[in-house]
Symmetry: C2
Subunit: 301 residues, 2 copies
């Protein structure tokens, strides 16, 4: 089923204990699209500046990613992020960030995308996320991500968004910031009171937690002995999760959500094994399914 | 099958956001014994001073804990610990500690305990742990715990202990300190090179990790929305794990170890729900089995 994602597209410079990669493709929508396209056709909505090398956007060649909604804006510059994991592999230190085109008006959703049933609103200003949520009237599942910046500076807009979406994905620090609860189960329940039907809290190397009115479900991360670059792990997780959900149709059972979280976990484990999209680029759907089965068996006792 | 534990017995004063409890029973051997006695008869070896109120030691009344090896030493004072979780529920801040009798000679293992097949050497000086490991010649499974203090000050003695035991249980910070590896899978593999056949890394609210030459297995913690007092969670975890293993006999398969880790996880989830032994005292084996099954089902997808 059609899965639409809108979010950032950027040129990243990343430093980890395994080296430095200047000017590689990055951004939430890029990681999400690549991850979810292992499962289902993806519609990408995003914007870059005219400085963006065409070769960087070639990453989706041969994949089922419809880039009709990718705007190359004249006179604008592409979002750039320079991050370092030298001090802590679990949290990037932002060395430099230039919002550039991300600080301008949002990209337009092409009319032919209006019938999208599954929608992921990757991290951006919650007022823009509201606009998207409103305009995509055929959506049966809208999931959003957010970040510290919006929780701190745009709480009202974020609180208006939450009843408009079905699911919220955020990390542990963000969940604690949003709810002022230290215990993550308590935090998740408080998020539910704000509107969404389910919330997924990403805990990085410690896995994830899903909470709905009926269920609470925890899953560890896939054990990884070599984390080369954690950039995009959260967006790849969301991509794997939503990509799988989009193939399931009908109503979403707790078992389906668990399987989807496990697919997200597995796809993220490929992402962190190399820089930028390298980990996913050297992976196939068959390898994902194989690791998923290995993970499923490991979790069964 | 007979399970012997030797470790600390103390009088604790604990402060958490849920209140303060002065002079309650505590210590690694106490939590371990209580936890494992849900599964199998336990033999406790430990020492207190003559100041220890008899009522504190009544906790094992009606339970299958053989306290023949519990020495009440004349002229000595009981180990005391005052800890606070007011700043961080994941790590106790030691307000005050008096080793007292723990700084003296070790308690004697009664001769009738010499045939113990399962042995848990709770956290104490690694030279004492070596003595115990040597003297218990009938043991088919010896598992030890350790702590920062010994890793930092008694590394040589600890390294002599490791080839003498089958399993080591320690927390994430200790594993990183012992191996100087940040990645926990790498750390676990380095521990294996030091001698034990398997290592269990406890990650508190993030669950645990087990590593052997053949297997790597991760398990989240049981989702808890109310943590009243985390004291003894790690020892209760080890008690649940060893208690279950002691009932299994024969060779220990990977599946048996997984089930044992899950029992440890579940017993610890009862411990943290109240102060001191309160959480376990208001629990039955039936409730543990019920929660274990709930956990098992939640982990299956």
């Amino acid at each position: 089923m059609s899965l639409l994602v809108t979010g950032s597209i950027g040129i990243d410079t990343v430093e980890t204990p395994f080296g430095k990669r200047p000017d590689v493709i990055g951004g939430s929508a890029i990681y999400f699209s690549y991850a979810s396209s292992f499962f289902t056709p993806v519609r990408l909505v995003g914007v870059v500046g005219e400085d963006c090398p065409k070769s960087l956007l070639d990453v989706f060649q041969g994949r089922e990613v419809d880039t009709t909604g990718l705007e190359i804006r004249k006179g604008s510059k592409t979002f750039r992020w320079h991050g370092s994991y030298l001090k802590d592999m679990n949290e990037a230190e932002t060395v430099e960030v230039d919002l550039n085109v991300l600080a301008e008006r949002a990209p337009k959703v092409p009319e032919k995308f209006f019938d999208s049933r599954y929608v992921f609103l990757a991290n951006t200003h919650p007022a823009l996320q509201q606009q998207m949520a409103c305009s995509l009237k055929s959506a049966k599942l809208i999931v959003a991500d957010t970040m510290n910046l919006w929780i701190q500076t745009q709480r009202d807009e974020l609180c208006k968004l939450l009843p408009m979406i079905h699911g919220l994905v955020l990390n542990d620090g963000e969940a604690r910031l949003l709810t002022e609860k230290k215990n993550l189960i308590e935090a998740a329940r408080d998020v539910l009171k704000m509107g969404p039907k389910f919330v997924v809290i990403k805990k990085g190397e410690h896995g994830c937690l899903m909470c709905s009115a009926r269920d609470t479900f925890v899953l560890p991360a896939f054990p990884a002995d070599k984390v080369v670059d954690p950039t995009g792990a959260g967006d790849s997780f969301a991509g794997g999760m939503m990509g799988y959900l989009a193939t399931q149709g009908g109503s979403i059972s707790p078992a389906t959500i668990k399987r989807a979280l496990a697919f997200g976990t597995v796809v993220a484990s490929f992402t962190i094994s190399d820089f930028s999209l390298g980990g996913m680029q050297s992976t196939t759907r068959e390898q994902i399914d194989e690791r998923w089965l290995e993970f499923k068996n490991a979790m069964s006792f």
